[in-house]
Symmetry: C2
Subunit: 321 residues, 2 copies
């Protein structure tokens, strides 16, 4: 796949920050998005126009959207739960709205406090409003690879929700592995089926690394023809059921692997790592990113200093494999 | 690959413990190996017969080997650096000795304090000794997918070291991604070449998760025909160049993924997780395992309690994807 373009979509300032206890200052959010805009992303999910009471961490959505310097070639998207949110988002001139519901009834009730049909009706209303503009519409389907309460989700269930939204004229659908339940063969089969049935929809895969499989699942999705991935700088974005577990797939780790494998993400990994290094100050704690700790594959080390006999003075590695 | 057997080889008590600052009591080591013996592994690397001065953490190698209850069907292997170590290991009746050297000159000098040719001569001598017994011989080739000082390692370089050891009559070779520099397409190409050129050697892949790619690399190796993997309980086994970064690929995460994908590892994941949960007490700190924190994919949760209006009292998830 040498040189094949892959589209990387950053979600840290939305999916990441919404879970953080420490409020990230509006100016810091704006500075971070501006920095990310220069990194080469296809899309940045800037914030969420949910109720400030429900998600206080993102209560400054308008200020952030108005404050950032938008650059050509990057799609600026925001999460929108209802028509009120859509109106707020549209008034900020967003490029895309991202709607969300779960394909599992239990998760939808838990997360959105309503049944799936009620969610669908609400989102259909939002779609009706947004379609009067030229703003793009994406729908993120949560728990598409498993529900932490119901378990397996039938592929047919996912495809039928995609179908309902496709019929409403959305531009894209994101299949979300909300709590890291996806595994490679499942991902491959679902992606193949989705690509085949919806060849004109813009398909995004949204992985969490809760059980360590995010990059393996990415490989499976790539092989099935997917070329668009959500990812979160530093691996931000926790799972409330797994305190201490990693969150979304880490953008710098995703880009690092894809570029090594010969794909063209268009993302500048050096800039990305520099931006990720700023996160701990913003959120008040370390981030899950392994790459930030270890450095890139080819960030080489010098040999330890040698003693007079030409042998290293100190063993840099424990004897082992 | 439904039902295809995959051989899992545990290295935590050797590659993991050797890097730990806290000495794990001999009795605890024995109890852990005994517990692991019941889990269904193909092989357990119990300890290392290196100089107690070089690796004090494993200074009790004889006591551990004599103390464990070996069970039928599990190969008990140990790391051996030289003939002195080989003699100690043979006196304990090990099933296999595992020799180690690096395919990169710089890493071999740093890790083993001698050049590769000197290492090869020393290991050839060990092989000569061990071949007089019916104990199996494996060679672990470190830095086979990259050297933290030299960078890329040519595939031809790896194959030619394999060739030299194959000519000495070793039974198996382990290709080690010592500092987590491997990436999927590289792994696939190397494994294909190795399988083709050495069809009768027992090939093992040994991944580290330093940059998050261990499970993705596992997928690539599987696709290239590899069926045998080293892994470390809890993800133990740090890289001295990346403090805080994860170590070896985590056994429970590897088994979890493989079983979900339909492979047959023979390993009991429930027992494995129970054993992994003991590690923090033994080593005095948390382990990298995400699976230990998050639980298995199908370890389901109940819905939050409902208020009188039938809606969850508390939002268990932040609104998001």
């Amino acid at each position: 796949m040498k040189g094949q373009p892959i589209f990387i979509q950053e979600v840290a300032t939305r999916d990441g920050f919404q879970n953080e206890a420490q409020f990230v200052d509006t100016d810091d959010k704006i500075a971070l998005v501006d920095r990310l805009s220069a990194c080469g992303y296809a899309k940045i999910e800037v914030t969420s126009f949910t109720s400030p009471k429900a998600i206080p961490a993102l209560r400054d959505a308008e200020a952030v959207m108005h404050g950032i310097k938008r650059i050509e070639g990057v799609v600026y998207t925001v999460l929108v739960p209802n028509t009120r949110g859509a109106e707020r988002a549209l008034s900020c001139g967003v490029d895309e709205v991202n709607l969300v519901m779960s394909v599992s009834e239990s998760h939808n009730r838990t997360n959105l406090r309503m049944g799936r049909e009620q969610s669908f009706a609400q989102l259909a209303e939002v779609i009706g409003v947004v379609k009067q503009t030229n703003v793009a519409i994406n729908v993120s389907l949560s728990t598409a690879m498993g529900c932490p309460m119901e378990g397996d989700i039938a592929q047919q269930e996912v495809l039928s929700w995609m179908q309902r939204f496709a019929e409403l004229g959305v531009h894209g659908v994101t299949l979300c592995d909300t709590t890291g339940m996806a595994f490679p063969s499942q991902v491959g089969a679902l992606c193949l089926a989705a690509c085949e049935r919806f060849p004109t929809l813009e398909l995004t895969l949204h992985f969490h690394n809760t059980r360590g499989m995010a990059l393996a699942n990415t490989l499976a999705a790539l092989e099935a023809g997917i070329d668009r991935f959500d990812a979160s700088l530093g691996g931000l974005g926790g799972c409330p059921y797994a305190p201490g577990a990693t969150g979304n797939v880490c953008t710098e780790e995703l880009v690092h692997m894809l570029e090594l494998d010969g794909y063209n993400t268009g993302v500048n990994l050096t800039e990305l790592l520099a931006a990720s290094a700023l996160l701990p100050r913003l959120i008040g704690h370390d981030v899950p990113s392994q790459l930030l700790k270890a450095g890139r594959r080819m960030d080489l080390h010098s040999m330890p200093s040698l003693a007079s006999d030409g042998r290293p003075k100190q063993r840099a590695f424990a004897t082992g494999a």
